[in-house]
Symmetry: C2
Subunit: 204 residues, 2 copies
DNA sequence: GTCTATAACTAGATAGAC
DNA sequence: GTCTATCTAGTTATAGAC
């Protein structure tokens, strides 16, 4: 009976709407996307959308909540499955980058349209994003304490790593030379070199 | 008689308008900013703006052209003033990061509102951004050829470096613990570690 | 569950007074 | 150079037929 999906209702229609909204919000932005354009992409009239959603704003809220929830949960699982700061950082970076290639539109929208949320909605979303960032900071801090990592400033390094990965959503191209796995591997390698203590745990 | 400013006319009024537009486009996005809101911030009526600009779109074009031009020129000067791939990369990264802290709103808008440009305008702006990116790619390539840098893929590394720096505009806070110089130094250090060949040119 | 029609409002832009 | 007034078109959202 009950499906795996926890928070959001997800009948076929609402999922189609969310997917189309992601596409258009990514292409033109939330305020740059009229409800009519969204309806047109779904081959319906604008009025029909309001049977499924009470407002355009609520579509955005659903998209962001869903994406941030998936990001946070996926990151926690990835980190929990690895042992030691080095392996955990690799797992975290790989997850972060893979998400930003495979789900680049959602990821991009979740980063860029926070400002389009009404203040009440923004709080909940921002809280989740902060928890996501803290996972990276904690992970770096533990690595520094263990002597595996060397960074001048944990917070700056965490933001550098996060935005570097987030940026993938802005340049990655699905049909390009490199696939998600190749990019994720290279990012993990670069980031390891960036934070790793000299002559510690190098691979040939 | 003629001033240093090359392309854009810059009497006091148009500069005030551009500054206010940057603020609002950053806060709410181009499509999320009504002309009336811009006028209100400048304590004038909406109609008055059209004495200085023919359209809202043209304000955006002016902002982006000006910012991208400054970015490109500043980067070229910074690189030209340094000798050798290592020093040039440090100079480039420092310039890039400093710009994204000191001019964070402009820099952010220039990255996020390309999609709000009419296609005709977009071409010119995109061309300049591509030239900016190429400076980093060339610089990395020369370093690899000289054996100073080791990267798996020059294009990926260049995008990683660029988006890492661009990301600074999204988290840097003017009144924060670290100033622009401190952040720029840390980024330069992290990025050097990221691309530098092992046991080459290290500083203590 | 989707349509048509429309209400209520806001958008960008213009005209002409001062 | 700025104001007031206004035009036209587009915006989100609702109501009621089917």
């Amino acid at each position: 009976m009950a499906e795996a999906q926890p928070t959001l209702s997800s009948d076929d229609a609402t999922r189609r709407i969310r997917r189309a909204a992601v596409r258009l919000f990514h292409e033109r932005g939330y305020h740059g996307t009229p409800v009519r354009a969204l309806a047109q992409m779904l081959r319906m009239e604008a009025g029909s959308l309001y049977y499924h959603f009470p407002s355009k704003q609520q579509i955005l809220v659903d998209v962001l909540e869903g994406t941030l929830e998936e990001l946070l949960q996926g990151l926690q699982e990835a980190v929990a499955a690895a042992r030691g700061p080095r392996a955990q950082l690799v797992a975290a970076v790989r997850f972060h980058v893979l998400f930003h290639t495979r789900r680049r539109e959602e990821a991009f929208v979740s980063g860029s349209e926070l400002r389009s949320l009404l203040p009440a909605h923004r709080r909940a979303i921002t809280a989740r994003r902060d928890r996501y960032e803290r996972v990276f900071r904690d992970l770096l801090r533990r690595g520094v304490e263990a002597g595996v990592f060397t960074v001048s400033d944990v917070k700056v390094a965490a933001m550098a790593i996060l935005t570097m990965g987030t940026g993938v959503a802005s340049w990655f191209w699905e049909g390009g030379r490199l696939g998600p796995e190749a990019v994720a591997d290279q990012y993990a390698e670069m980031i390891l070199r960036m934070v790793q203590s000299a002559r510690k745990g190098r691979r040939p």
